[in-house]
Amino acid sequence: MRVRVFVQILLSGLTFLIAGLLYTQVIRHDVYRVMSEENRLRVTPLTAPRGGVFDRHEKMLARDALSFNASIIYSQIRNKDALAGLMAEILNVDRKTIDDGMDRCRIRPYSPVCVVSDIGTRAAIQLEEAAYEHPGLFVEATTKREYASGSATVSVLGYIGRINRPEFDRLKHYGYRIDDMIGRAGLEKQYDNYLRGKHGGKQVEVDNRGREIATIGYREPNPGRDIHTTLDLDLQIFCGKLLKNNRGAIVAMDPETGKILAMASAPSYDPEVFVDRKRSGEVKELLDNKQYPLVNRAVRAAYPPGSIFKLVIAAAALESGKARPETSSICEGYITLGKRVFRCWKENGHGEQLMTDAIMNSCNVYFYRLGLLLGADDIAVFARKFGFGKLTKIDIPGEVTGTVPSPKWKVETFKDEWYKGETVNYAIGQGYLLVTPIQVAEMMSVFANRGYLVRPYVVESIGDVRINNFERQPAGIREAALDTVREGVMRCVNDRHGTGMKARLSEVVVSGKTGTAETSTGRNHGWFVGFAPFDKPSLVVVVFDEYGGKGGYYAAETAGKVFREAKKLGII
């Protein structure tokens, strides 16, 4: 009897065991199988270096350089204190940084996590040696983005940053990894797909200490492709220096092809801020900066063009037959429209002028009258023919269209009718009209190349493959009209009284037009747009001087320096 109770107790124990085994091995098998695989297999990512970026002379602008990270596998650490002390000493960082870094590693205790990035070759070798005595310590070789001339090229190249959560969720199916760098602006963003290589990986079997026992799978990383640009690094650096203490933009473009030789925007910034973890504090400063250094003013911001728009008015009037080159008009310093008075910038007036005189003098009155002859609708039509109000399709992301207003546009936007006075202002590039510096370069190219709207572009070839970024179409303006304006802009710089005389050079004939755009703040933007040489223009230069005052002075002078440098470099 007592033996039977004894047996029953044993049997209940047996049942308990069988149930436990059944649950663990049969019901929950899949869960544990996965856990066992995760234990056993580790995928070591093999990072593919990002492609480099080069200028038109194959000078390096950006590339991925070898860099070392000090990483640890938390579960393998034996003496945490000694290891932290050693790392702090070799890497010359304070103990707290190391300790904080190690705490981060606790989240993924079985895989290597970076504690200090970009540690330098010397420290890497020292740590590699110390790793023998300190299990858990690893030196990982990775790549780090380097920009040859940092802030000088950043407006074109942009920058890269670590992929963030929403980006990752959106892009994970395209081979991005959680720690990946992704292009955030400029060419780095536009051509991210090509620059970014295909990551490889090594699937290895590891033991409990993370030692590799066997390689199970291997996929070679595919480096990203190099990008060859139209930029001229020397001219680019030169333009960057010219803008150094100002706000604004410079665009230098080949009017025949649309190749961008230089594009600078100021204030500028150092793109390496975004890849160097130690400088992450500076990122916030950049984002908070009220001068918006991250905005590439050449393409991402639109401003009133001021008098440079007079070139469009002149061409429009000639093309539509509303005026002829010899159309003369007397400037008395102002015109009246109803009760309103619209003044020329020269109080006493310019007297009698032909069209090229008016361009040379930038006479407001002459263009008020042309504007009234054309009407707001026609002005809008011609503004669009010169590329305003739409994207130039330059291969730099974030481009804005600006605004080409028209009576219809005003009704749609403000529910208000168009006033004649607005047409008058329109004619001298004031009012609702907003343009980007790159659009201005495109506009000037129509005059320089005698009739074609070219698409500006930066990238010539990707890897060995030339990509066809060249694109141009007739603007629909007759050569005769263009020639008249060309003569006007030539005189504007080269005539004794020309408003653009500050851009004049002895070594090459520069032609161009100044502009001073009034803003609601009361401070004016300065503009200059010109081309050279006169006979067969090979370079268009736009200088935009944000709140820089009268275009005739600083902007024209700056453009002159750009042309001189371009001549020196053999570009013109």
Binding site: L10, G20, N208
Partner: protein, 364 residues
């Protein structure tokens, strides 16, 4: 049939033989190093072979003797064993935070393994001598007092698992030998109520093991690591297992103590649910034969010895497997016949020898 001259239980002998061979196979697998030179036997496996061989020799010797005569030495053996435990506490060197081993140069002796056997003998001798007084309070209290020094000495080592395994042995022997059930239940209730006191005596690592049993994720790299890795090993084995020598958890060393206390994880991983059931089947066979011997013998000595030994094996199997699957806290109990360890193998084999000896004194 004359006492001591019947046929010993051959089925039991065969089952023990099979399970010991199985054990060797898995000690081999647990200590197997992939890519190591073939042909050279791992020294651990070689030693275990030696122990198993010696164990079998002793088993057969013991089985051939009359256990009633041997009982004359029960108190002496128990006494020597207790002295060894005292010696350990006073002079023993610590290993893994406990004083469990006496280093004898060539091998080290683990007296607590042998005390499992000698305590059963002492108990059997005591209960057999005083079988007329069975059921009295005095008899019961004396029995408790007889066992308590072994319990205390092992508990102080500290070796919670081995100390606790003495409790079911004591109670089942007392119960089957006809002691008063009221006393047994009262002692148990008292024991449960005094748990909080016990908790405070426990060492930190023992407490953390118990806490981790409740939730292994408290400290996945520390105390919980073994449980988690063991459950992964057993669970990933599935129905059919990964094949002998094919376990990744054990061969890649994710599993600590895989050839000793956690050898069942290797079996579960490599032979799966089916293999685990086969092993359990063999244990059930041994225990069933043991139960058959208990009910077949009519002297109190034999009954007590057989009950104690069957309980010892059953409780260790149950506790060990349950802890590897995470159904029980980790207490350091070996898997009988299988786990690596000379003292364990020898003690168990001696125990089975006595069981076989008892089997020869059957009524029918």
């Amino acid at each position: 049939m004359k006492p001591g001259h019947g046929r010993m239980d051959r089925v039991l002998l065969l089952a023990v033989f099979m399970i010991v061979i199985l054990g060797l196979a898995f000690v081999y697998s647990a200590t197997y190093v992939r890519g190591a030179q073939t042909g050279s036997l791992n020294p651990l496996v070689a030693r275990q072979c030696l122990w198993v061989g010696a164990g079998f020799a002793i088993l057969l010797c013991v089985a051939g003797m009359d256990y009633i005569r041997m009982l004359d030495f029960a108190y002496i053996a128990y006494g020597i064993n207790l002295l060894l435990l005292v010696f350990l506490l006073l002079f023993g060197g610590e290993r893994y935070g406990a004083k469990r081993w006496i280093d004898l140069g060539l091998f080290s002796l683990q007296p607590s393994e042998f005390v499992k056997i000698t305590v059963i003998f002492a108990l059997a001798a005591f209960l057999g001598e005083r079988k007329e007084k069975a059921g009295t309070l005095r008899n019961y209290v004396y029995a408790l007092l007889l066992v308590s020094p072994a319990f205390l000495l092992i508990f102080l080592q500290p070796d919670l698992g081995t100390a606790l395994v003495l409790v079911p042995i004591l109670f089942s022997v007392l119960y089957v030998s006809g002691e008063n059930i009221k006393y047994i239940v009262t002692t148990m209730v008292f024991g449960v109520l005094s748990m909080p006191v016990f908790w405070n005596i426990l060492k930190d690592y023992q407490k953390s093991r118990l806490l981790v049993f409740m939730n292994p994720n408290i400290d996945p790299l520390g105390a919980g690591y073994t449980i988690i890795q063991s459950k992964i090993a057993i669970g990933s084995g599935g129905v059919w297992g990964k094949g002998w020598l094919g376990g990744t958890q054990s061969h890649l060393r994710f599993l600590p103590e895989r050839h000793t206390d956690f050898i069942f994880s290797v079996i579960g991983e490599e032979w799966g649910f089916v293999g685990a059931m086969m092993l359990l089947g063999l244990y059930c066979l041994i225990i069933a034969r043991g139960v058959r011997i208990i009910s077949g013998v009519d002297d109190t000595y034999g009954k007590a010895i057989a009950t104690g030994l069957v309980t010892l094996i059953a409780v260790q199997v149950l506790t060990n497997i349950a802890m590897t699957v995470g159904l029980m806290p980790v207490v350091g109990l070996p898997l009988p016949f299988i786990s690596y360890g000379g003292s364990n193998i020898m003690a168990t084999m001696i125990g089975i020898g006595f069981l076989l000896s008892v089997s020869r004194r059957r009524k029918r």
